[in-house]
């Protein structure tokens, strides 16, 4: 249990995935990250390392839903306290990163009737599920493509609305459930339904590093970590701290970043060229570019930001063409070139 997590900053390569995760941590409204790739590419290692980068947040003490004392999105219990004139006592908590294991049942995900109370006292009480625990944090599903379809539907629905509505076993209630959904998987084991793909904010195609030197470095560090996890983690603590500070600063600044009209035009042009349906693509692209600018310490979003985040923000929104061997990444690249060459 005390085994430390592999440090985020020690991960070799995986630049796109790392950036996507950081960006979704800076602006959770971007809507999560989907990491698809072959086996043994270190997808889950990278995602699990994210937790250490997240700056602590204020939450109401003893609240089952980690409510933000300064926010408006409060749970019923916190609202009740306010109504009765109580003050909400705050404390700092670590941002929850909740693992949703495959085979989880719906009752554990959304919450359900409290079995103990029902059996001993015949009382109808709500026992919170994973969605409550993940409120204001991250929900990670490894092998998301193997999750039951109806659970994925449910999760994306809740992620989009920020609210978990429970209607089961004679209970009817709702509570805030705002979280960033992170999914990873291997397309060879089955793909995610196209309808679900574009509900993720960013998507990344994860590959193993192809150059020999990086591959050696991956194996070497992995070996170093396994031989002495504590020592290894300690050696990277400084790097991790630096990164965490950078994320915290960016988080505080992200809403101050200026998005010039020309950038909005550019992103509209790009989405039009790629034929992505709906506004979701444009909105995500704009937000992601803004978060990237904040992360890089810029004041305004530039075309460079837009360009470097566009593949992650758009590649999973293209209409799927089974005859196109090149894949969507190449199509995004081509569209980028066309749109910005002039």
């Amino acid at each position: 249990m005390t085994r430390p997590v592999y440090p985020f900053s020690a991960i070799v390569g995986q630049d796109e995935l790392k950036l996507a995760l950081i960006i979704s941590a800076i602006d959770p409204s971007i809507g999560g990250v989907l990491a698809f790739g072959d086996r043994g590419t270190g997808k889950s290692t990278t995602v699990r390392a994210l937790a250490a980068l997240l700056p602590p947040v204020r939450a109401v003490r003893d609240c089952r839903f980690n409510c933000d004392p300064d926010g408006s999105n409060l749970c019923e219990e916190c609202r009740e306290k306010l109504r009765e004139g109580e003050k909400l006592v705050a404390r700092f908590i670590r941002v929850p990163v909740v693992d949703l294991p495959l085979g989880a049942t719906e009752d554990r995900v959304v919450g359900a009737l409290d079995l103990e109370k029902a059996l001993t006292r015949g009382e109808k009480a709500f026992e919170t599920g994973l969605l409550a625990r993940a409120n204001r944090g991250f929900l990670y599903i490894d092998e998301v493509n193997l999750l039951e379809d109806f659970l994925v539907d449910l999760l994306l629905d809740v992620a989009a609305s920020g609210e978990n509505v429970v209607e089961r076993e004679g209970m009817s209630l709702r509570h805030p459930a705002r979280f960033v959904l992170i999914g990873s998987g291997n397309p060879e084991e089955g793909e995610l339904r196209p309808q679900l793909l574009d509900r993720f904010g960013l998507s990344v195609e994860v590959r193993t590093p192809q150059d020999l030197a990086s591959r050696i470095e991956v194996v070497r560090r992995r070996d170093g970590f396994e031989r002495d996890p504590h020592g290894f983690a300690a050696a990277w603590r400084g790097e991790n701290r630096k990164l965490r500070r950078k994320v915290a600063t960016a988080r505080a600044r992200v809403n101050l970043i200026v998005v010039p009209d020309s950038i909005l035009e550019d992103s509209a042009k790009l989405c039009l060229a790629l034929g992505t349906d709906g506004l979701r693509g444009e909105l995500t692209l704009m937000r992601a570019a803004r978060a990237l600018a904040a992360y890089e310490g810029a004041e305004t979003v530039t075309q460079k930001h837009l360009k470097s985040i566009a593949p992650s923000a758009l590649r999973h929104r293209l209409r799927r063409d089974p005859l196109d061997e090149a894949g969507s990444s190449v199509r995004v690249d081509m569209a980028l070139e066309k749109a910005f060459s002039a």
Partner: protein, 603 residues
């Protein structure tokens, strides 16, 4: 068959014994060992040896292939929950296996979903469960022994998600009883090695050599070199060294890298031929025998490390039986079947999915979960009377538990969405290939896209030459389907009967799993190879018609797409025999075929 050739090389048996020893030294680090072998005395001896070098207290148990999820991963203990009036969680088998060894019999029949979930447990060294009011995390550090009992010919292999996490692989198929000899490795030696293990260093150049060797063998996953490093470390610990050397690296490459090779480390070999070449038993002289033939192909390895890499590659290559190389080259994407075909499996798969669809009286079991509220509701009216009966009987004081009897149990009924699997039986023979194979492929690809959107499974059967083969077992992966389709080459005779039979057998298997099959045969209908593989136009045509009638008798929905430039009488006749919708391709674009498929699936 070059088993006994090299006198001074390790025999296959000795290799297997070495693998067992390394595994015993670091079962968790190496993840596990895949043992390809039939049940028999050789495998038994190997297992006996393994058991003799692992501590007696370590749990050593079989994974029941069709066990319920709760039993494996843990869940709510229903009896205890009801008895104690509060939720009592039950640790599953995997949590009980902590510090032990998990034997998976018939690993080739393991369902891929289960393999993925098991894989997550292996990766995390812990079981994390969230189900039916139970939320728990237990350590589960165990080594896996996966017994792969697949037949040489059939397409079943252990799921890739499982194999990926097992560091070592051995093959006992060609080991004869004569080769088996007792090993003198003892538990004490293993335990001494375990004590040494944490302090064994693996020099950077050994790590670099193993990684380069993995690249040369065309191994993409980085888990393989990581396992190889661990194997080298275990080998050094076993030999009593504090630092792994070339010999350890060679052994690691042999046991970890060689079985995963997808190509030979030679520039011209790196393009895998799309069709399995016939075995060449007489070809004794391996082009790669020395492993020294390759030149500076190797990306960026510094020169002094190059020699080490070559040595590692040579060590691994020497251990690779010729047939395996052929196999590796022929099947770059060895794909496991996506589900087992057993009956128990079928029931379970169906029941585990779906939306709740009402409640009825019955005993809870996998797939029919207890509906607690309804159960309590059913029990409620009887509380008074039951308590008074109980009080009378036991004459004890107050009882404040709810009395729930088994006939109160209400179970949820789950309605699984009906699933369809489309089996494409593609005529890749010379007559078809010359003109229409490309078009046929195009049509199949378009249909694949449709299936993908509907989340149907697809399977691919190709027939040409003298027989039919399942290129792709049912899958939902478009990626995989596209790959196997692209790799399909044309040429040879038209064993139409075999093609229909193979597709039919697959369809029956699929139906047994509760999925509705649909067969789409794409052919010009000109059979010229009979069911027994012998040429002869007339017999072939008769056999094809017979096979078609069998399909009709089985009541499997079928479409026949006539791929010839002009509609063929034979094809139409065959379509009639199998009660298939007949779609001549000249008039049929993909949309028309797809429409026919939809109609056939309905009716």
């Amino acid at each position: 068959m070059n088993g006994g050739g090299e006198a001074e090389e390790r025999s296959l048996w000795e290799e297997a014994v070495m693998a067992a020893s390394l595994f015993a030294v670091d079962p968790v680090g190496l993840g596990g060992i895949a043992v390809a072998s039939k049940y028999g005395p050789v495998r038994d001896s190997w297992m006996d040896f393994l058991r003799s070098i692992v501590p007696g207290w370590a749990p050593f148990r079989k994974l029941p292939l069709y066990a319920a999820d709760e039993r494996l991963f843990g869940g709510l203990d229903l009896a205890a929950t009801l008895a104690h009036g509060k939720p009592v969680a039950e640790r599953g088998l995997l949590a009980e296996m902590d510090r032990g060894f998990l034997v998976i019999p018939s690993a080739e029949r393991m369902e891929s979903g289960l393999a993925s979930r098991l894989g997550l447990v292996i990766d995390a060294h812990a079981v994390h469960v969230e189900r039916e009011a139970a939320s728990m995390m237990h350590p589960a550090r165990f080594g896996v022994i996966a017994l792969d009992e697949s037949e040489a010919g059939d397409d079943e292999t252990p799921p890739a998600a499982l194999l990926e996490r097992l560091g070592l692989r051995i093959d006992l198929t060609d080991v004869t009883w004569r080769d088996v000899c007792l090993s003198d490795t003892t538990l004490e030696e293993i335990e001494a090695a375990q004590a040494r293990l944490p302090n064994v260093a693996v020099p950077d150049k050994i790590i670099a050599g193993l990684v380069s060797a993995a690249v040369s063998f065309g191994i993409q996953t980085l888990r393989a070199p990581v396992f190889a490093v661990r194997a080298a470390r275990a080998s050094a610990a076993l030999a009593g060294r504090d630092e792994a050397n070339e010999e350890d690296a060679g052994l690691a490459a042999m046991l970890v890298l060689a079985p995963r090779a997808t190509r030979m480390p030679e520039p011209m070999e790196d393009q895998a031929p799309p069709e399995p070449p016939p075995p060449e038993p007489q070809d004794d002289k391996e082009e790669d025998g020395k492993g020294g033939g390759e030149s500076g192909e190797n990306e960026t390895a510094p020169d002094d490390d190059k020699a080490l890499t070559d040595m590692i590659i040579a060590a691994a290559a020497a251990a690779m039986p010729k047939e395996m190389l052929v196999k590796a080259a022929a099947k770059p994407f060895r794909v496991p079947p996506s589900a087992p075909m057993g009956k128990a499996g079928a029931e379970r798969t169906n029941a585990a999915r779906g939306r709740p669809a009402g409640v009825r009286r019955g005993m809870p079991k996998p797939g029919s979960p207890l509906s607690l509220l309804e159960t309590l509701r059913a029990a409620a009216p009887w509380q008074k009377i039951r308590k008074s009966m109980l009080e009378k009987a036991a004459n004890t004081g107050r009882i404040d538990r709810i009395e729930v009897r088994s006939d109160d149990f209400r179970i949820k009924r789950l309605k699984a969405r009906s699933q369809t699997a489309t089996i494409f039986a593609v005529d890749a023979s010379g007559s078809a290939a010359m003109q229409r194979l490309a078009e046929t492929k195009g049509a199949v690809e378009l249909l694949l896209a449709e299936c993908y959107i509907r989340r149907d499974q697809v399977a691919l059967v190709a027939f040409r030459g003298t027989r039919a083969e399942i290129l792709l077992p049912p899958t939902r992966s478009l990626t995989r389907a596209k790959r196997s389709l692209a790799a399909l080459a044309g040429g040879g005779g038209t064993p139409l009967a075999s093609g229909i039979d193979a597709a039919g057998a697959l369809a029956i298997n699929i139906r047994r799993r509760g999925i509705s099959p649909l067969i789409v045969v794409l052919t010009d209908g000109k059979a010229n190879i009979a069911a027994d593989g012998k040429p002869g136009r007339e017999r072939a045509q008769n056999d094809a018609n017979t096979a078609g009638r069998r399909l009709r008798a089985e009541g499997i929905a079928t479409i026949l797409v006539d791929t010839s430039p002009r509609p063929q009488a034979q094809a139409e006749k065959l379509a009639q025999e199998m009660a298939a919708r007949y779609v001549p391709m000249p008039y049929a674009n993909a949309a028309a075929i797809s429409k026919a498929a939809k109609m056939a699936a309905k009716g």
